[in-house]
Amino acid sequence: MKMEKMTYREALKQGIREALLNDERVFLMGEDVGHYGGAFAVSKGLLQEFGADRIMDVPLSESGFVGAGVGAALAGMKPIVEVMTVNFSLLAMDQIINNAATLLHMSGGQLNVPLVIRMGCGIGRQLAAQHSHSWEPYFASVPGLIVLSVGTHEDARGMLLSALKSPDPVILFEYTFMLNMDKEVAPDAGAVDITKAKVRRDGKDITLITYGNGVYKSLEAAEELSSQGIEVEVIDLRVLRPLDEETLLASVAKTHRALVVEDAWRSGGMAAEVFSRIIEKGFFELDAPLQRLCGQEVPIPYPRHLEEASVPQPQDIVDTIRKMIGL
């Protein structure tokens, strides 16, 4: 089938549009999703197409409208709540953790919350400390949530559709850095498996585990290393909670080496959890110490050169892997 070139933004938009067409219980609400056209132009035109009942602009009230999303989900709707960026999700954290993630358990299994929360996330546009956070690991530590990271165009197109099938709350992290990036997407791309990590590139020499902004950076580094004779297996975690251990362990059993790459701060990042799983169940497969390239432990500074130095870059990945292989 002929592939279609599209931006990450367009892929996200097509996913939302399809979701709205599929099920009339679905509606989108968030700050500036309607009249403004979406803070990042993702929902541009949808208000005109679907009307203000289904594309709801909301006031700056993150705790309020996320909580309203929980309530609407409880009472029979299928809300897609957009929190403009993860930076503002802290204001809604009470609703996300104490209500969305917890109601099923507290009610002894009576009340499930089929809510999808989308948020823009990550570093890369020189937006400085309050607007550049990578907080996937915080959310991934909360039982009751399903946490997805949209690291490719294919997932940008399909993950939302899968998320809407979940009976339980799903957090979708989208990456503002990738919005304008063009990639090939299958025209029939749709729902994807949201229980599995995905091997994005096969390799025999080392396993590189990553997610989000790390995926394309890692593939770029793997390409460069391949030209130097090193074959890297790149795994996109995709599902940060619950973690798909099986895929990780199978790869480590093949390569016997692993590196985790992520933009999130090093302490308590996804790398720490991934390593624990590998050590618990695959320790004897390892030929070398596990390594990680993570975000530097500093609020993200504004100037470009300092921002770039705050998170791993493809060249850092290449250098680290060469060292790990003993070159």
Binding site: D32, G34, H35, P59, F88, Y302
Partner: protein, 329 residues
């Protein structure tokens, strides 16, 4: 109604010309910033204050140097009105170490402790509770200063606004809340974000004396701010002033302005506070043609100096990346 003292401060011609100068400086500074943004000298988010100058200048002239000022990400105007050096602001927006926040913050995070300017806060309404705390500290230490906090009408929908209002009233702290109601929160109009669109009524609901003023009129804003400051100092209570204004430019440099009519913008431009005040001073014979020319020349020189400082500024070495995370680094 609390005791209000309506003494009028009579300004000298020189003081009046200074206020005009400040508004014009802000205008030119913002125009230059937009220019430097398109040249990619300034990056990230850039929120311009053009159209709203009378608010920052009118309110700030009522404050003393000891008062604390907190603002949003649309804060260049407040920083300039507070007499911060335009060069240190421009250098900050370039990301140079000569910037007022050492280049770490950029356009949205201007800080200058020597001017009691506490940002530069980019989480909408996040600074309101801090403002209450600063005013509380002044009260506890029996200091005479007040805390002035600027924010948009979008912020007045946040829980943090409502919690801050209640706390300020409950603790009776010397805080001046200034809502810059420019009718849009990003691209979402007031009518889509507030059921009660007279924002000043929200203060009254919390037991805070409140009023609204034409934010396009420097004289009106100045009077309202002078009264508010006196009220706070006389009654030892917070005050809430809503300044109704308009931003002539897009929300930020990323905004395609799909949500408002060009005609509406043109209508508001007729209320531009700068020509209005300038004409007022000319009519009162407080300002001559020659003085206007001199003022404009002086402003051009200030702006050029600021750009030069930013251009010649230096980058912080990458080795210092993890500085300023803990004190004493």
């Amino acid at each position: 109604m609390e005791k209000r003292i309506k003494e009028r401060k009579v300004l000298t011609g020189e003081q009046e010309r200074h206020l005009l100068y400040q508004m014009k400086l802000i205008r030119r500074f913002e125009e230059k910033s937009a220019e430097q943004y398109t040249k990619e000298k300034i990056r990230g988010f850039l929120h311009l204050y053009i159209g709203e100058e009378a608010v920052a200048v009118g309110v700030t002239q009522a404050l003393s140097a000891e008062d604390y000022v907190l603002s949003t990400y649309r804060e260049h105007g407040h920083a300039l009105a507070r007499n911060m050096d335009p060069g240190s602001i421009m250098a900050e927006m370039y990301g140079k170490q000569e910037g007022c926040s050492k280049g770490r913050g950029g356009s949205m995070h201007l800080f200058d402790a020597t001017f009691n300017f506490y940002g530069g806060n980019a989480i909408v309404a996040g600074h309101l509770p801090m403002a209450v705390g600063m005013a509380l500290a002044s009260k506890k230490q029996q200091k005479k200063n007040i805390t002035c906090c600027f924010f948009g009408e979008g912020a007045a929908a946040e829980g943090e606004f409502h919690e801050a209002m209640n706390l300020a009233a409950l603790w009776q702290v010397p805080a001046l809340f200034i809502c810059e109601n420019n009718l849009y929160a990003m691209g979402t109009a007031l009518k889509y974000t507030h059921a009660m669109q007279y924002i000043e009524k929200k203060g009254v609901g919390y037991g805070i004396d409140s009023s609204a003023v034409d934010g396009m009129d420097l004289i009106a804003v100045s009077k309202a701010a002078n009264d508010a400051v006196k009220y706070i100092k006389t009654n030892n209570k917070p005050y809430f002033l809503v300044c109704n204004t308009y931003r002539f430019r897009p929300h930020s440099m990323f905004d395609a302005e799909l949500y408002r009519d060009k005609k509406e913008v043109e209508e508001w431009k007729k209320k531009d506070p700068i020509p209005r005040y300038q004409q007022d001073l000319i009519n009162k014979k407080r300002l001559s043609k020659k003085q206007i020319d001199e003022m404009d020349k002086h402003i051009e020189a200030e702006i050029n100096k600021a750009v030069t400082l930013a251009e010649e500024g230096t980058w912080e070495p990458v080795e210092d990346l993890t500085k300023f995370v803990y004190s004493g680094q």
